[in-house]
């Protein structure tokens, strides 16, 4: 059994990518850096879908369709998030999340 023909390899890899992305979301303060980390998390989910598609699913087209769906949603999310970041910068002159506290009660 080759290492790249095992489901577990891909699952552990996606897990590592997810953990790295989660660390980025928790540790960084720049909004753009947080967006980058969210993209990593979405890619980890994508790898999981594709791995299950390759090794378990009854029909191999289904997982690929879902991976394409994730990509389109990620593109929409990135466009909206980036425009919000530009608007926040215009309002606060900063994209540090610790300065974006206007909604605090």
């Amino acid at each position: 059994m080759l290492v790249f023909n095992q489901l577990e390899t891909y699952l552990y890899l996606a897990l590592l990518l997810f953990a790295i992305g989660l660390y980025g979301v928790l540790a960084r303060r720049s909004l753009i850096a947080i967006l980058i980390s969210v993209e990593l998390i979405l890619n980890a989910a994508s790898i999981n879908f594709m791995a299950f598609n390759r090794f378990l699913a009854p029909h191999p087209a289904v997982g690929q369709v879902i991976a394409l769906f994730i990509m389109a949603v990620a593109a929409a999310e990135a466009a909206i998030a980036l425009s919000i970041i530009v608007a926040v910068y215009r309002k606060l002159k900063s994209i540090n999340i610790e300065h974006a506290t206007e909604l605090r009660g």
Binding site: L15, A61, I80
Partner: protein, 176 residues
């Protein structure tokens, strides 16, 4: 797991797989750990190219191509534009408190350990009957028959996202 000889086709494929894995993980580490935001974006692009390589190993060249086209070609470039439109890079940024970094590491580490144990414990059972039809033609068929609702919803979502992005971001850097 056994290791074939280095010069056999399987050996070369295994070495290439480890290179792809290294590109993915090193890129992801650069994307979260580097201080310069541009290095973060370049790390993200590197990691996504690695993920596209993984998709090639998972028998899906079409999705790998789309990954490079959409993520590296569109999203990373859009992030670069957002960086240029927002905070200038020469401003000093104080380093984050060490306790907070440690807290983030502990949080993601706990989730990692939980999911690792979950993955180890589960028995993955393949479907009883598995089709072997991996062609792009089939994906196209599915997108226009069984999954045409997904196709339409995605196009509507992208249209709404585009309009929303234009409305929110109109005005540029200096105006208020």
């Amino acid at each position: 797991m056994n290791f074939p000889g280095f010069l056999s086709p399987q050996g070369i494929a295994t070495i290439a797989f480890f290179v792809v894995v290294a590109v993915t993980l090193v890129g992801a580490l650069i994307a979260v750990a580097a201080r310069n935001i541009f290095h973060n974006v370049l790390g993200l692009a590197m990691s996504l190219i690695g993920v596209a390589g993984l998709f090639l190993y998972l028998n899906s060249p079409f999705v790998a191509l789309m990954e490079i086209l959409i993520y590296v070609g569109a999203i990373c470039i859009a992030i670069c534009f957002a960086i240029m439109l927002s905070e200038p890079l020469y401003l000093p940024r104080p380093p984050r408190k060490f306790t907070k970094i440690l807290g983030a590491m502990a949080g993601s580490g706990l989730v990692f350990i939980f999911l690792l144990l979950l993955t180890k414990k589960t028995k993955w059972v393949p479907a009883a009957e598995r089709s072997t039809d991996w062609s792009v033609t089939t994906i196209g068929h599915y997108l226009l028959t069984n999954y045409s609702l997904i196709f339409e919803v995605v196009s509507l979502l992208l249209l709404v996202a585009m309009l929303g992005a234009i409305v929110i971001a109109r005005g540029g850097r200096g105006s208020s």
